[in-house]
């Protein structure tokens, strides 16, 4: 395949999301480079990707090596200064036609773009975890994003055999924000004594949901759920609908983070 919208793609951040995004892009036939300032992270990503894509994905651990790319997707840590700094530096060493996309799930794409020299080429490309198994990608329009950038990104997402949806830049975009009541109402039902954990999960599964909200939170990790909820709440100026729940905070404080620690809402004897 050599007729892709973007031929050369650089993914910044070799964590789980970056590695997954690189995998999806490489599987569609794009030339992919994975870059991370941590050589250990690069090594881990290489180990994970080599089985399927040996020799087809390049790796680097210096920002300076990225001088040619049609699309950059950043999946570095979820902190505004880091993302702004990355894009403003890349801006100076990449041709002005390169599109800069952020995989942020909770930060303002508009604020990230604001520090770039050519903010109109910045947009959001929000992949979901795990990228290889999720068919949806949110294409996020920041205040500054050019229409043509969004069209090309949407076309690219289709080439990845994923479904793009066009989203305006607002906290939590569509999925993170609109799915919130599934988790928060469960916490409120628990808190106000409507039902216990197992009953709530059982009722919602019976109602057609693929898993119960407490099962989902335990799988995702309560620290991640809590961080996302907080970011959403703060992003909407403390809108009461998005207020994090004390039950969740106490579990996070106790280090009961879900499956990965062997205990969250439930005890997971099989793990940890």
């Amino acid at each position: 395949m050599n007729s892709m919208t973007f031929d050369r793609i650089t993914v910044f951040g070799a964590g789980a999301m970056g590695t997954g995004i690189a995998q999806v892009c490489a599987a569609a036939g794009a030339r992919v480079t994975v870059c991370d300032v941590s050589p250990e992270a690069v090594k881990r990503a290489q180990k994970a990707l080599d089985a399927e894509f040996k020799g087809r994905i390049e790796f680097c651990s210096s920002l300076l090596e990225t001088t040619e790319a049609d699309l950059v997707i950043e999946a570095v840590s979820e902190r505004m200064e880091i993302k702004q700094d990355l894009f403003s530096r890349l801006d100076n060493q990449l041709p002005p036609t390169t599109i800069l996309a952020t995989n942020t799930s909770t930060l303002s794409v508009t604020a990230i773009a604001a520090k770039a020299r050519f903010p109109e080429r910045v947009c959001g490309l929000h992949f979901f975890n795990p990228p290889a198994q999720t068919r949806l990608v949110e294409v996020v329009k920041a205040k500054q994003t050019a229409a043509e950038v969004l069209e090309r990104c949407a076309a690219f997402v289709r080439e990845l055999e994923r479904e793009p949806i066009l989203v305006r830049d607002a906290p939590g975009f569509v999925v993170t924000r609109c799915s919130r009541p599934f988790l928060s109402e469960a916490l409120h039902c628990l808190d106000s004594g409507v039902a216990d954990l197992r009953t709530i999960d059982g009722i919602l599964r019976k109602g057609g949901f693929p898993e119960g909200p407490f099962e989902q939170m335990d799988r995702t990790g309560l620290d991640a759920v809590y961080a996302t909820t907080r970011a959403l709440w703060e992003g909407f100026f403390h809108e009461p609908r998005f207020r994090p729940h004390l039950i969740l905070r106490k579990l996070v404080e106790a280090g009961y983070l879900g499956r990965k620690t062997g205990r969250g809402f439930y005890e997971h004897r099989d793990v940890g």
Partner: protein, 273 residues
Amino acid sequence: MSGSQIAIEPEFYPIERLLIVGPLADAGPLADRAQAAGHHATLLVPDEEIAAAHEWGKGHRVLLEGEAVGEDDFDLVVELHCTDLSAKAEVLLYLEDALAENVPILTLALAVSAGELTREMLIPERVVGFSLLPPLTDSALAELMATPHTSSEAVRAAERLFESLGIATAQVGDSPGGVLARTVCCLVNECALAVQEKIASAEDIDKALRLAENYPYGPLTWGDRIGLDRVLAVMEGLHAEYKEERYRPAANLKQLVRAGHTGMAEGQGFFGY
């Protein structure tokens, strides 16, 4: 069954003759399902003309409102009013008056709690709230809500009825919409707010939640299936019960309902059909 000399376990009380009360579009399909399960269903209707004019009113025994009811004519009543709370209150008082004291009354507690509904009633012991997510006959599970007054016999009768209809039951605390209807209606409301704020198109919002969260329906389509008037009623019920800002209904949801665009049944809701 009366006149027996020995004490009869409530388990052996028959639940055969059902009186089904409420909008015919809901009462009709439930009566069909009850008939199919071997019950004798009777629909309570305002007058013969309405019953005859409505597709669901045909083919069922009907009882006209205001008509005299024999104390021993029915084993159990299912009351299904959802959006019209004054009709609900009125018919519950009528039923209380017309039926023998021991006939259990199951009342749909989607938009109001069972406790609130029975406040004015003389025999609240026999009343059990329940929540089924509309369309009612699609539901696999009924949530049962006992008030502090509700007798265990009444709860047992409710369990037996749903069991006989092939609908599982779970007991939950008394609250408008229980767990499932509350969750789904809050999802619909959040998506309605996102549409209103032009975060994405209605089609894309539904697509996103189906693909990323694997929901069985996109929430806006789900709302259209449930009926937006009911979604609004559940939100207003939660808002009234908890007085929390989080349950404030979206303005576009209210506007659609006022315009009569209540979803699939009417041919127009968030989407056209």
